[in-house]
């Protein structure tokens, strides 16, 4: 019912765009996301028989099964970890709660592919733990294999539970205790109140966090590569760079996009249900005081999670990095670092500026066209890097061919590549992927700049550039800085887009990690990994100091 008129209204309002440059801005950014997606999806509707035949016979079954197990396993364990820890830190009181509620976010600073190779290095047959077990007990055969479906699920859950944890904690903190009291007043026990009131009320947030975690799971490339666990992302990479079949890669990407869209729809639905029933601060005094063993049990649980997911991997990385520092800290390392910083810097600046323009467009226009455009432009967080890499590459290759056809007769250029092989593909893909990361902080700063501030400035005799300088810039500065930092860090850690679209010679830290881990050289991947983790800690420290880590 509602879809059809929306679409027709969308099409009808297209001519109006040219009258308003802010709408045009929104449309441009939406197009940047839409084109790679459409390119990829269109390959689903134009299947090539031979390609499909091959995929169907040899890989598809395994890919689907592997993906299914991964999604189920990561989903269940992030839910379990995220909801329980969220409830404990938001509503209960136990020793160390304050520090732990913050420390439980730290694992987000370690890319999952780093945790992955650290765990394999530690827990594999040749690793120190099993070696010690053999020395102490004579055998370690009973020890579960880390290179298994369970191992991948464990590593990913430890890296991704913070998404569920953060959203669940916020939901519980704002309404958990109150919901429980309401239930108790109606004669429910605490336990039944939790399951019948608090949990259902927090469900939209929990589902939202879960969907984010699952999107990351589907998008993941690095972790599954380390484990040699074939999923769509690794299959896309292998068909493109192993079999040199861009068509097959697109076909696989189109399937992945369809799976992702299911999650995206679920996430958007849960988002629209997020309504805080009651605003205001959660009161410290109102916590449930856990007693004795229960309290220490809660502390132990949280400490264990933080240790396994953050402290142990970081320690192991530091030890390895120290071992190889003398050999690995050389001009090549500095080259990787320089490339990484440059790419992340450029991407952060263009994405933050793009987010600013998009946010202005949304501020000026509240019509459905602009809102739709903003939604599309910020949907890239759901799209796996492998999909965007393929989509942007195919689109730009087409532009290249067209440009060449037009330009060759005029300018006598040799056949070759104009845009391919430049940084453009990479930067467009980064921007599409991380636009939401930049947009959210900028847009929440923009909420503090309602149009009435422009009006009031004008009544006070201040307009145009002076108004930008005296009112807009100081209000938006914080949001812009946050956007720059977040995008910077995300691009630094990004693996598949960088790996698949980097121009020759543009190896980054993430690429170095990929290369070293694919040869099983865990120690030699440690120095770049430590660098990424330390930089990844920046936003957590920065945001928690500015008190909005919750956003």
């Amino acid at each position: 019912m509602t879809k059809a008129p929306k679409l027709s209204a969308f099409v009808l309002s297209l001519p109006a765009i040219y009258k308003d440059r802010w709408r045009l801005v929104a449309l441009v950014f939406a197009t940047l996301v839409l084109i790679p997606v459409l390119v990829v999806i269109s390959s689903f509707f134009h299947p090539e028989k031979e390609v499909w035949q091959h995929l169907y016979e040899h890989v598809l079954g395994d890919l689907l099964l592997n993906t299914l197990w991964l999604v189920l396993g990561v989903g269940a364990s992030t839910l379990l970890l995220g909801v329980s820890l969220g409830w404990l830190t938001a509503v209960c009181q136990f020793p160390g709660r304050r520090i732990l509620s913050w420390a439980l976010l730290l694992p987000i600073a370690i890319p999952a592919y780093v945790t992955a190779f650290v765990f394999i290095g530690l827990l594999d047959f040749t690793g120190p733990l099993q070696g010690w077990l053999r020395e102490a007990f004579g055998s370690s055969d009973w020890f579960p294999r880390i290179r298994s479906t369970g191992g991948v699920i464990l590593v990913m859950s430890l890296a991704l539970y913070p998404y569920v944890y953060l959203l669940a904690r916020n939901a519980f903190a704002t309404q958990g205790k109150r919901a429980l009291e309401a239930a108790q007043a109606l004669g429910h026990s605490r336990t039944s109140g939790f399951f019948r009131v608090a949990l259902p009320m927090a469900r939209p947030w929990i589902v939202g966090g879960l969907m984010l975690a699952l999107m990351e799971t589907l998008a993941d490339f690095g972790t599954v590569s380390v484990f040699n666990y074939d999923t769509f992302t690794t299959a896309i990479y292998k068909t493109w760079f192993g079999m040199f079949s861009l068509d097959a890669a697109s076909q696989l990407a189109s399937l992945l996009v369809i799976i992702v869209f299911v999650l995206l729809i679920l996430e958007q639905l849960s988002r629209s249900r997020m309504r805080y029933t009651q605003a205001g601060r959660h009161q410290e005094t109102g916590r449930i005081k856990l007693k004795g063993m229960t309290a220490w049990g809660a502390t132990l649980f949280a400490v264990t999670v933080v240790s396994i997911a953050f402290i142990v991997p970081l320690m192991q990385l530091l030890i390895w990095a120290a071992n190889v520092f003398a050999d690995d800290f050389d001009s090549r390392y500095l080259g990787f670092l320089q490339h990484t910083l440059m790419l992340a810097g450029i991407a952060a600046v263009i994405t933050a500026v793009g987010a600013l323009l998009l946010s202005y467009a949304a501020r000026r226009n509240t019509d459905s066209l602009t809102r739709t455009c903003v939604r599309i432009a910020t949907i890239g967080y759901a799209l796996p890097g492998t999909v965007l890499a393929v989509g942007v590459f195919v689109a730009i290759a087409w532009v290249d061919r067209t440009l060449l056809q037009v330009l060759q007769p005029i300018m006598q250029i040799e056949a070759g590549m104009l845009l391919q092989g430049s940084l453009l593909i990479m930067l467009v893909a980064y921007m599409a992927r991380f636009m939401a990361v930049g947009f959210n902080p900028v847009d929440s700063a923009m909420q503090r700049l309602p149009l009435s501030l422009d009006d009031v400035s004008r009544t006070l005799g201040v307009s145009s550039l002076t108004m930008l300088r005296r009112v807009h810039a100081p209000i938006l500065r914080g949001g812009m800085v946050t956007a720059l930092i977040l995008v910077f860090v995300d691009v630094m850690k990004e693996m598949p887009i960088t790996l698949m679209t980097r121009p020759f010679g543009w190896d980054t830290l993430a690429v170095r990690i990929f290369e070293m881990t694919s040869e099983g050289e865990w120690e030699r991947a440690a120095l770049p990994a430590v660098t990424l983790v330390l930089v990844g800690l920046l936003p957590i420290i920065f945001l928690s100091r500015h008190g909005n880590v919750n956003e």
Partner: protein
């Protein structure tokens, strides 16, 4: 035409597409006066204010400030050159500036050494001198409101516009603050125009009030006249409580109702034998135990000093009566009432 008017709107209209939001509206405001546009939401009152401010361009008519045209359909003086101040519904304080800096914001053309004293002078007037170094989010709603007023007054604008300035405050504070702000405006000899849907606010603040409906001013008058001499059913209904009691014109200037005969000025077009509706305010009907006229109590609303009774007459028509609260009667009880009516307001049946 009065040429001393500080603000004058001549036949102003405004449309969005086919929707006519303001229709052929004219008004004048003399220097030092506080005017008010009162009306339900969607009546176009905020649009009028935004037209005066210059945030929107008008479709027809003319707006003059200090005798000079500032807006016609072909010309619009930019807001920043109109010498107006505005107080917004959401206050629109700059979140990144302190109270002092907010008030100083519009003083950029004043000599630097004079700015500080001017800011402090206004903060004294609104009673917030002690909060000069605080940020807006540290203030209560009422304090933010006063900062917004001080900020708008600081550059000594010719005209101050207030858009629903008290709607975000609770009713207690609203009443107190509207009187306070009136005193501040009067002390600065400011000319102001206020927009609100709340008649108590309008009564407390304004010298003259225009009741707006469907983009037009129905009546421009004092609060007393709007209440006691409304010129239309809409104004009678919108301002104050009351009921319309039907009656028959039995001779020129005399109407017979269920409560007896009434003498008064009737609309010109009403002839003998026609039915009219008489406006009865709750204070027009007085409780009198000695009266032969009896009515049954249907509802009662305790209001502190008074009780507002809804009474049913023997004919079945209902009226309201405001009775001192020590006359506490039960529902269903019959009480004696008497008419005490100064102005008979009659509306023709259409």
């Amino acid at each position: 035409m009065n040429n001393n008017a500080l603000l004058e709107l001549r036949n102003v209209s405004q449309s969005y597409g086919d929707l006519r939001v303001v229709q052929d509206l004219s008004l004048q405001l003399a220097k030092g006066q506080i005017g008010c546009l009162l009306g339900p939401s969607g009546c176009g009152k905020t649009t009028v204010l935004r037209l005066i401010a210059g945030f929107e361009r008008l479709s027809a008519g003319e707006i003059r400030l200090n005798g000079a045209a500032v807006a016609t359909p072909h010309f619009s003086l930019p807001t920043e050159k109109r010498r107006i101040g505005m107080v917004f519904q959401d206050y629109a304080l700059f979140p990144h500036l302190t109270v002092f800096e907010n008030v100083a914001f519009g003083l950029h053309q004043m000599e630097k050494s004079l700015r500080g004293p001017r800011v402090m002078e206004l903060l004294e007037v609104v009673g917030l001198a002690a909060a000069a170094n605080k940020y807006p989010h540290e203030l209560s709603g009422g304090q933010q409101q006063r900062v917004a007023v001080a900020r708008a007054l600081a550059p000594s604008p010719d005209l101050l516009l207030l858009d629903e300035p008290f709607s975000n405050l609770d009713s207690d504070l609203r009443e107190r603050l509207s009187q306070e702000i009136r005193e501040v405006l009067k002390s600065q000899n400011a000319t102001a125009i206020l927009v609100t849907h709340d008649q108590h606010e309008a009564f407390a603040m304004a010298d003259e009030i225009g009741v707006m409906h469907q983009g037009m001013i129905q009546q421009w008058d004092t609060a007393y006249n709007l209440y006691h001499k409304p010129n239309s059913r809409f104004v009678a209904d919108f301002v104050g409580k009351g009921v319309l009691l039907s009656g028959e014109v039995i001779e020129r200037g005399r109407v017979m109702t269920d409560l007896g005969g009434l003498y008064g000025e009737l609309p010109d077009a009403v002839g003998v034998g026609q039915t009219v509706d008489i406006l009865l305010r709750p204070d027009d009907i007085v409780h009198d135990d000695a009266s032969k006229l009896q009515a049954t109590i249907m509802h009662k609303a305790f209001q502190g000093a008074d009780i507002l009774y809804t009474l049913r007459l023997e004919s079945g028509q209902q009226v309201l009566s405001l009775v001192p609260s020590h006359h506490n009667h039960k529902l269903g009880e019959k009480i004696g009432i008497r008419l005490e009516i100064d102005h008979v307001i009659a509306f023709r049946r259409t």
